[in-house]
């Protein structure tokens, strides 16, 4: 089979599964059967993606069909664009989707069959949308799939919709990402106005030939970047991601760690040739990314909810990727996206196993879980070491590449912020590890290791994380060659320092966490209240938006409605007055006719 057919198969299988689950209610209500269908479909997708990835020709493959007809050729097309970027992303998405769906069978075993069927229907739709986003060959199609993944995210965060926090979190995620998408769509339309095409290949050609008008291009690219800010949870639109943790943990692993939140990074990588024309926007991306990384890392330090720590760590790592893209190291950023997708999914699924066993998200109610759950402890440790960037795990190489890229890109201050973030990452992750798996207290209840259907995906992800890292180490370390020699040593040193610091604080208790909190009291209070960003948005919403709405409501109620009511009142009064001339006596009407006739005659004489 050729590349196009394979890509279409990978895209079509989850869609067929979603369609079946959506239109055949008995199948959906069957629960586990629905899950099996969905898993089989995404398994087929994964197979197709793997074959596609291995057999991909050097040049990109593009298939297009005309869509919106217009004079002189179609205004927009639909199609697929497969190159190495898309193929690697395809494999990551299909792989993590497959493993997460498998894992969900165990994690959601206590759900009722209809709820489970609904869950898998959403998952199939998500897989289709995300694969479609990856394969999109033009901006318009990408935007459609972009919104579809947003919808799936909304549906899956609100999967337990009877829980008020989950419903609120779903709505918040939807609105905050919409704020960014607004910029995205305006950017797309403006770009179309300038270039006359949505097609990536056409735009890249124009960028290479320097025929793309550069006037106003910076604004356009900034607007498109706004879409990525919303989706990839960059400052200041990162506030939705931690709240999105109200959804089931496998959903967090798939959508809010490995795939959908990386869509923003993927978007910037995808249209990187266009961003290269606007260095100012790229620099902004780098600064915002580094700032996001640092901000989220400080927030992750003070969270008590294991999933929220991971959520802030996701925001932080997305900041890393964006910083790399902004500094010009697109390959490094995308590399970090791939490795991060693997080990963050691993961490979330590991956290899910812990939550499944203990029944709470609060790390202070856990402890010494390595005795009860040795398997989970090992895989979680693998994920944590990869996230902290320890040799020879995959995260070490990608983080290194990012740091080297940012340094080479000349963004010195963002580089320092990222270096500090490396230290903080190790601290907050090992804080979780020491408190949850080691610590001095035992967890409540009787935790136990998870069944094979859940531990299988964990082991696969752990082996991939470690195996990829070792193969990279054997082959000379991927992108490392570009940066100066001292960067890997610096990064590793900072990470090890972070681990030691966390060990001293949370395991040995040599450093008192409370004393630290007192010393850095302003920072601690600020981080606990999320730097008041949520309050700020709430205030803006309540003060300005609701105030304005009230004003508009007043105008509508008293001005617009008033005019309408006035007109109707006048009509009523006139009607009431004119009613009196209708006496009902035929002779009176005849008087009218005769008198009118007379008037007409007189008038025609005197005219």
């Amino acid at each position: 089979m050729n590349a196009g057919t394979l890509a279409l198969a990978a895209l079509g299988l989850p869609f067929c599964s979603f369609l079946l689950l959506a239109v055949v209610p008995p199948l959906r209500r069957a629960g586990r059967a629905a899950g099996a269908l969905s898993i089989a479909a995404i398994g087929g997708s994964l197979l197709a993606s793997l074959v596609l990835w291995r057999t991909l020709p050097r040049e990109s493959v593009e298939l297009t069909w005309p869509w919106l007809p217009a004079e002189g050729g179609p205004m927009a097309t639909v199609g697929i664009l497969v190159d190495h970027l898309a193929a690697s992303m395809l494999v990551l998405v299909a792989l993590v989707s497959f493993l997460v769906q498998l894992y969900s069978l165990g994690y959601l075993e206590h759900e009722t069959p209809p709820a489970l069927g609904r869950y898998y229907a959403y998952h199939s739709l998500f897989a289709f949308s995300m694969l479609g986003l990856v394969l999109a060959s033009n901006f318009l199609q990408m935007f459609i799939f972009w919104e579809l993944v947003g919808l799936c995210s909304y549906l899956l965060i609100g999967f337990w919709y009877t829980k008020p926090e989950a419903a609120r979190a779903a709505v918040k995620a939807f609105w905050v990402t919409k704020a960014g998408d607004l910029g995205f769509i305006i950017g797309i339309v403006l770009l179309w106005g300038q270039a006359g095409t949505f097609q990536f290949s056409g735009l890249f050609q124009m960028a290479a030939d320097r025929t793309l008008p550069t006037a106003g291009l910076a604004l356009i690219m900034f607007l498109i970047y706004l879409g990525a800010v919303g989706k990839s949870a960059q400052f200041p639109l990162h506030v939705w991601l931690p709240d999105a943790m109200e959804g089931p943990t496998p959903v967090s692993a798939l959508i809010h760690a490995a795939t959908m939140v990386a869509a923003g990074v993927y978007l910037v990588s995808r249209v990187y040739p266009l961003f290269l024309l606007t260095p100012d926007v790229l620099a902004l991306i780098g600064w915002v990314g580094a700032f996001t990384a640092l901000l989220a890392a400080t927030l992750g330090l003070v969270q008590a909810d294991i999933k929220r720590v991971l959520a802030y760590s996701t925001v932080s790592q997305l900041g890393f990727m964006m910083a790399a893209l902004g500094a010009g190291a697109a390959a490094a950023g995308f590399f970090h996206l791939l490795t991060h997708g693997l080990f963050k999914a691993l961490l979330f699924l590991g956290a899910g196993a812990v939550i499944h066993a203990v029944g709470t998200n609060d790390i202070w109610k856990m402890g010494r879980l390595y005795r009860a759950m040795p398997q989970t402890a090992i895989v979680f440790l693998v994920g944590t070491l990869a996230l902290a960037g320890i040799w020879p795990f995959a995260g070490f190489f990608s983080k290194d590449a990012v740091l080297a890229g940012v340094w080479e890109g000349g963004l010195t201050t963002p580089f320092l912020m990222l270096a500090l973030t490396v230290f903080l990452t190790a601290v907050y992750m090992f804080r979780v590890v020491f408190v949850v798996f080691f610590g001095n207290r035992s967890a409540e209840g009787h935790p136990h290791d998870v069944p094979l259907v859940m531990s299988g995906p964990l082991w696969i992800l752990a082996i991939l994380t470690l195996g990829w890292g070792i193969s990279l180490a054997a082959s000379g370390g991927g992108e490392k060659a570009h940066g100066p020699e001292w960067i890997p040593w610096l990064a590793s040193g900072l990470a090890v320092a972070g681990i030691v610091f966390a060990w001293l604080t949370y395991q040995k208790r040599a450093v008192s966490a409370d004393a630290l909190a007192r010393t850095f009291r302003p920072l601690y209070v600020a981080a606990l209240s999320k730097f008041w960003l949520d309050d700020l948005y709430g205030g803006i919403y309540r003060g300005i938006l609701l105030g304005f709405s009230r004003l508009v409501g007043w105008v509508d109620r008293y001005l617009v409605d008033g005019l309408v009511n006035l007109a109707s009142a006048w009509t009523l009064r006139w009607g009431d007055g004119l009613r009196r001339i209708q006496t009902g006596r035929a002779q009176d009407y005849l008087y009218g006719v005769a008198f009118g006739l007379l008037l007409v005659i007189v008038w025609s004489y005197w005219r």
Binding site: R579, R580, I581, Q582, T583, G584, R585, A586, Q587, L590, Y591, A594
Partner: protein, 99 residues
């Protein structure tokens, strides 16, 4: 004798008929007024036919007479029905169309 006296006669007849229709309170009186107005028209038709030599006016007059007969028959039937239902033929009291 010229055309004018006939026309004056017809106008007088028409006016008398109209006056009767407008002032009579009895429904049968109103019908009689209508008869007068129609006959004024007949006088006009016949007079014009006589003075222009066109026979069409005579034929129109014949038509009018026959239609008048039908109209009176219908009108009287309606008046009798109204009387059965309302026990009156006074036009003042028949104001079902009052707004």
């Amino acid at each position: 004798m010229g055309l004018q006296p006939y026309l004056i006669l017809a106008a007088c007849l028409f006016t008398i008929g109209l006056f009767g229709v407008l002032t009579r309170r009895n429904a049968i009186g109103i019908l009689l007024g209508i008869e007068l107005m129609l006959n004024a028209v007949n006088v006009n038709l016949v007079a014009f036919a006589r003075f222009t030599g066109e026979t069409a006016g005579l034929i129109f007059a014949l038509f009018t007479i026959s239609i008048t007969v039908a109209e009176v028959a219908l009108g009287l039937a309606i008046v009798i029905l109204i009387f059965r239902v309302r026990r009156t033929v006074e036009a003042d009291q028949l104001h079902l169309l009052k707004g």
